[in-house]
Amino acid sequence: MHFIAIVLGGIIGILVGFLGIGGGVVLVPAMVYVLHFGQHTAQGTSLLMQLPPLGLGALLVYWKRKEVDVAAGILCALGILLGGYFGSVLAIGTASRNLRGYFGLFEMLAAALLWQRHRAKRSAEAQRG
């Protein structure tokens, strides 16, 4: 169990740096399906994992390349902090089974958004010739 946590952390870290995401989107299903955590516990543990600035090492690399919009970043942090409170209240009041289903729908939506970006870029490249 402890060994799994350390290895799983490393895999998720690579995704964090590569895609600029928090990692919970992979961590939560991994905890539910591989380790049979309850949906609520998996989500609470995912939030615990993200409290320290674990993306700092990754951020450094982006910072050196000037690929960071600081003002937008601060606004996003503020919005996520406030929104996170209300989201967690919603989650605690939702039955585990339904929450798992909603999580699945959310992942499908997030996947569609990521995919769409790729198609948009391709058509822009095609227009440029």
């Binding site: 946590a5 952390g9 490393g10 998720i12 870290g13 690579i14 964090v16 740096g17 590569f18 895609l19 600029g20 995401i21 928090g22 939560v28 299903p29 955590f37 516990t41 998996a42 989500q43 609470g44 543990t45 995912s46 939030l47 615990l48 600035p53 674990l54 993306g55 700092l56 090492g57 951020l59 982006y62 910072w63 390349r65 690929e67 937008a72 942090a77 919005g79 996520i80 929104g83 996170g84 409170y85 967690s88 919603l90 989650a91 605690i92 939702t94 798992r100 289903g101 999580f103 699945g104 729908l105 959310f106 997030a110 996947a111 958004l113 990521l114 995919w115 769409q116 970006r117 790729h118």
Partner: protein
């Protein structure tokens, strides 16, 4: 000048929506924030990822996390053991992202994410 403040207000509103989803699903929100910065605010992909990473430096999940902790829905030991791996893996991943074009990786990841999501929704409601 005015349009810049309007843009900042719009980013704040979008971030609040991302935060609600983050608290609801136990996520940092980057997975939603990165595509939205690109699609709605015309960020370049690398810049969106860097901005998402700086937004996740402060403990933005704190208010949400406290609600889960209060409801006893946190596996403490497991959560702490994940941290060193994520931190070190983050260096490797960001280095890779600057070396390779992350486009193909992102599409693979999107496809994988879609399958995980579909499996989870089906398992929750039709089994």
């Amino acid at each position: 000048m005015g349009s810049r403040y309007l843009r900042w207000a719009a980013i704040l509103v979008v971030a609040c929506v991302v935060g609600v989803a983050g608290g609801m699903f136990g996520l940092g929100g980057g997975v939603l924030l990165v595509p939205l910065l690109v699609l709605l605010f015309a960020f370049d992909q690398h810049k969106a990822q860097g901005t998402s990473l700086i937004a996740l430096v402060p403990p933005t999940g704190l208010l949400g996390f406290l609600n889960y902790a209060h409801a006893h829905e946190v596996a403490w030991t497991f959560g702490f053991l994940l941290m060193p791996g994520v931190f070190l893996g983050g260096f490797l991943g960001s280095w890779l992202a600057q070396k390779l074009s992350p486009d193909r990786m992102r599409v693979t990841f999107a496809a994988l994410l879609f399958l995980i999501g579909a499996a989870q929704a089906i398992a929750a409601w039709w089994k």
